[in-house]
């Protein structure tokens, strides 16, 4: 009851007075800023993108002593002389240059106590913005365990602003911080400390470029401060973190550990997620069954069951993979390993025009390109991020696997390769994965030297000290990724599913008397007459050089929403009715049907080994995944890049399929 009473009082007090305060949370990356944000504001009330850029906007609101405080979590920044979109957003928000976001009344600079010197650089710039500044010293417990002592009182005198000690996961010092925020309303702005001004006024006398002289002047000021404020209780010895680092960034050991870690993550995305995916999948089937019985037969039922539930449901089953992947990424990022992974892989990826930070997104894309593209958010550099997003869908995702498996088992002779114990279907399957990787490397190499050409992008990567990941931050990461994915599934993917359903369902076929409209023959005929079927026949001249008949072309067009759909469509189109590729029996039947299919009006077989290979190569390289294109659009905040992805991938897929078919035919496979 007392809490209700307190809330009522709060509400009464806030009536009629302006008690709203906007506070910006500024800090270097890896300072525990996210931990502090969730400790103060809990779950953010608003997550989105800043207008025009893909930098995330995160705002949380909380009540403290009858004041409503809006907390803006700024993207991590090393400097307010912006060099990345992240830093530009931080600068724009701090100066009130973004429409719809009020200039913050107060700036909280989060400072990592274990790394005071470099963190004070950003503080020195924040002090010049003019708004009241509060310094929140985080990771004080870690600093103390390392024997680092900071004289807060002296530091506060040097900076001319309050310095508060915080241990965010335990909520120590949060109330004091909130109190100080409210008091800051009465301050008359922030002045740059005199000692700093003195250093900055000497820039003109320096013979260095102004920006460099400015940075050096600030560090001179910082060195004066740290000399007085910092003390070390233990002689700097090899700490546990350093010993861990000695192993994990070791040339050989580090590579081994790295390989094992990535292998276990990669396999868990598949195996750990499988039971959960089955669960979601049976939930979707249950829903479909329920809808089928609840809605009378007809267009509405077809729309709900075949359009909405099949379309959105087919995408939602990837939710467990996304949640598990982001769990791993958040844990690895939280403890500091992600930065080491980028460090280890950088040289290899730079060779093809990417960066070490592209590794995790690309690895994730083998499970599904959607989480992979979302994981590219961890790449600050815009060019590297875009390039990674563009090539990520070339990694063979788990949705291609059923296509490969079916065609390999149906048309690739199960013989040994040479005198080895490798079987030919397995070699073909592995080649499909390799083709994707190889083409991605070539595309990245070419793009980075043509349209993405520019000055070399600096790779300045902090290797943060090892620490335990914060459960709250990890949870928030997973929640964020899941919500954002479900939102897309519920809006854009839903819309695309409905459109494809409509194209496959209209115009309605003319049903002859005495024919069962539910029969497989009739369903195949219906698809043939639909807009989708017409499109299939229309594009036949285009797919003929690939060895395909119009029905395969139609299946390829119909599988635009998702590659695995091609199996179902092939089933329908070859007069099979609905075929579930996951079931042994159905797949067996589909294989028999495909093997016996002939070109219209002849007895020439449609499916030969070169045709099967051509279909596989096409699906390895094509962009037949509406959800991926939707996510690319979302993540790049532009419709241009999904269009570019679709165009270049479809072109490559066609060329690849053409080459393999012609090669196979010439060699008489």
């Amino acid at each position: 009851m007392s809490s209700t009473k307190a809330r009522n009082e709060t509400e009464q007090q806030s009536v009629g007075t302006d008690m709203k305060l906007t506070v910006a949370l500024l800090g270097n990356p890896n300072t525990g800023k996210s931990t502090l944000f969730s400790a103060i504001a809990g779950i953010p009330t608003r997550i989105g993108n800043y207008p025009g850029v893909t930098v995330e906007e995160k705002v949380g609101t909380f009540l403290h002593r009858s004041h409503t405080i809006d907390l803006i979590d700024l993207p991590g920044a090393y400097s307010l002389k912006a060099k990345s979109p992240d830093e530009q957003v931080a600068v724009d928000v701090l100066h009130g240059n973004i429409d719809g976001i009020k200039q913050p009344d107060c700036i909280v600079v989060v400072v990592d106590a274990t790394n005071l010197s470099r963190n004070l650089y950003l503080v020195s710039q924040a002090l010049a913005v003019g708004q009241p500044v509060l310094v929140a010293l985080t990771l004080c417990d870690v600093a103390e365990s390392k024997g680092i002592h900071i004289d807060r009182k002296k530091l506060s005198e040097f900076l001319g602003c309050p310095v508060l000690r915080l241990v965010a996961p335990r909520r120590d010092g949060i109330d004091q911080l909130a109190d100080a925020l409210i008091e800051s309303r009465d301050w008359s702005g922030q002045a740059v400390p005199e000692a700093l001004s003195d250093y900055l006024s000497q820039i003109a006398e320096s013979d260095r470029p102004v920006a460099a002289a400015d940075a050096i002047a600030r560090y001179n000021w910082i060195d004066d401060i740290t000399k007085d404020v910092l003390s070390f209780s233990t002689k700097h010895s090899r700490s546990l973190g350093e010993r861990i680092d000695a192993v994990l960034t070791h040339r050989i050991l580090g590579t081994v550990v790295f390989g094992l870690t990535m292998l276990s993550i990669f396999s868990s995305i598949f195996w750990l997620a499988t039971p959960l995916m089955d669960l979601v999948s049976s939930g979707v089937e249950l829903l479909a069954g329920w809808a089928e019985s609840a809605i009378p037969e007809g267009i509405l039922q077809s729309l709900v069951v075949n359009g909405i539930i099949a379309g959105v449901g087919g995408v939602v089953i990837f939710l467990p993979q996304i949640a598990i992947l982001f769990l791993f990424v958040a844990v690895l990022e939280g403890c500091g390993y992600l930065a080491r992974a980028a460090f280890l892989m950088d040289r290899l990826l730079v060779g093809v025009g990417l960066s070490g930070k592209s590794f995790i997104p690309l690895l994730s894309s083998f499970a599904c390109a959607i989480p992979g593209i979302m994981a590219a958010r961890t790449i600050e550099n815009k060019r590297d991020r875009l390039l990674t997003i563009l090539v990520a869908p070339l990694m063979s995702c788990s949705a291609r696997l059923p296509v490969y498996l079916l065609l390999c088992s149906a048309f690739v002779p199960n013989i040994a390769v040479g005198n080895t114990w490798f079987r030919l279907p397995a070699v073909v399957l592995a080649s499909m994965y390799l083709i994707g990787i190889l083409v991605a490397a070539i595309v990245a190499f070419v793009l980075s030297r043509t349209i993405f050409r520019g000055p070399p992008q600096p790779f300045v990567l902090e290797l943060p000290s090892w620490r335990w990941p914060q459960p709250a931050v990890v949870g928030e990461r997973v929640r964020e990724a899941a919500v954002s994915f479900l939102k897309n599934a519920g809006t854009l993917i839903l819309a695309v599913s409905i459109v494809v359903w409509a194209l496959g369902s209209f115009p309605k076929p003319v049903i002859q008397a005495g024919v069962d409209p539910e029969s497989a023959e009739q369903q195949g005929e219906a698809l043939r007459q639909s807009f989708l079927g017409q499109a299939g026949r229309f594009i036949e001249p285009v797919v003929k050089p690939l060895g395909w008949d119009w029905r395969i072309g139609c299946a390829a067009v119909a599988s635009f929403p998702a590659r695995e759909v091609v199996l179902g469509v092939l089933g329908v189109i070859y007069n099979l009715g609905d075929v579930d590729p996951g079931e042994e029996e159905g797949a067996g039947m589909l294989i028999r049907q495909l093997r016996s299919a002939t070109w219209d009006g002849t007895d020439r077989k449609v499916f030969t080994l070169p045709v099967a290979l051509s279909i596989m190569v096409f699906f390895a390289l094509c962009a037949q995944c509406a959800s991926t294109l939707v996510i690319i659009g979302k993540e790049t905040a532009s419709w241009v890049w999904p269009l570019v992805s679709f165009t270049y991938m479809t072109a490559l897929a066609w060329i690849g399929a053409f080459c393999i078919f012609q090669l196979g035919t010439t060699l008489g496979w």
Binding site: Y78, S79, K83, Y219, R251, A339, P458
Partner: protein, 74 residues
């Protein structure tokens, strides 16, 4: 003039200057690689690049072509 790119792994040295005046050079300065600061080359990635540095009590990784801009004491 010696650069950080030529320094041996495990050695500790002093920064004298950062050459160049583009954003990369500025970022190196902003990360604390200022004249007079002590740097230890902690290690290198499996293919020899990038290198791992320790300075101002923290770990930083930069590529060799960036390390080449860091002029060190001989």
């Amino acid at each position: 003039m010696r650069s950080l790119a030529t320094a041996n792994i495990g050695s500790t040295t002093k920064v004298v200057d950062i050459s160049g005046d583009d954003n990369t050079s500025l970022r190196l300065l902003e990360m604390g690689l200022t004249p007079g600061v002590e740097v230890t080359i902690v290690g290198a990635a499996p293919l020899g690049d990038p290198v791992e540095l320790e300075l101002r009590g923290y770990r930083l990784s930069i590529r060799r072509n960036e390390a080449a801009r860091v002029v060190i004491a001989t």
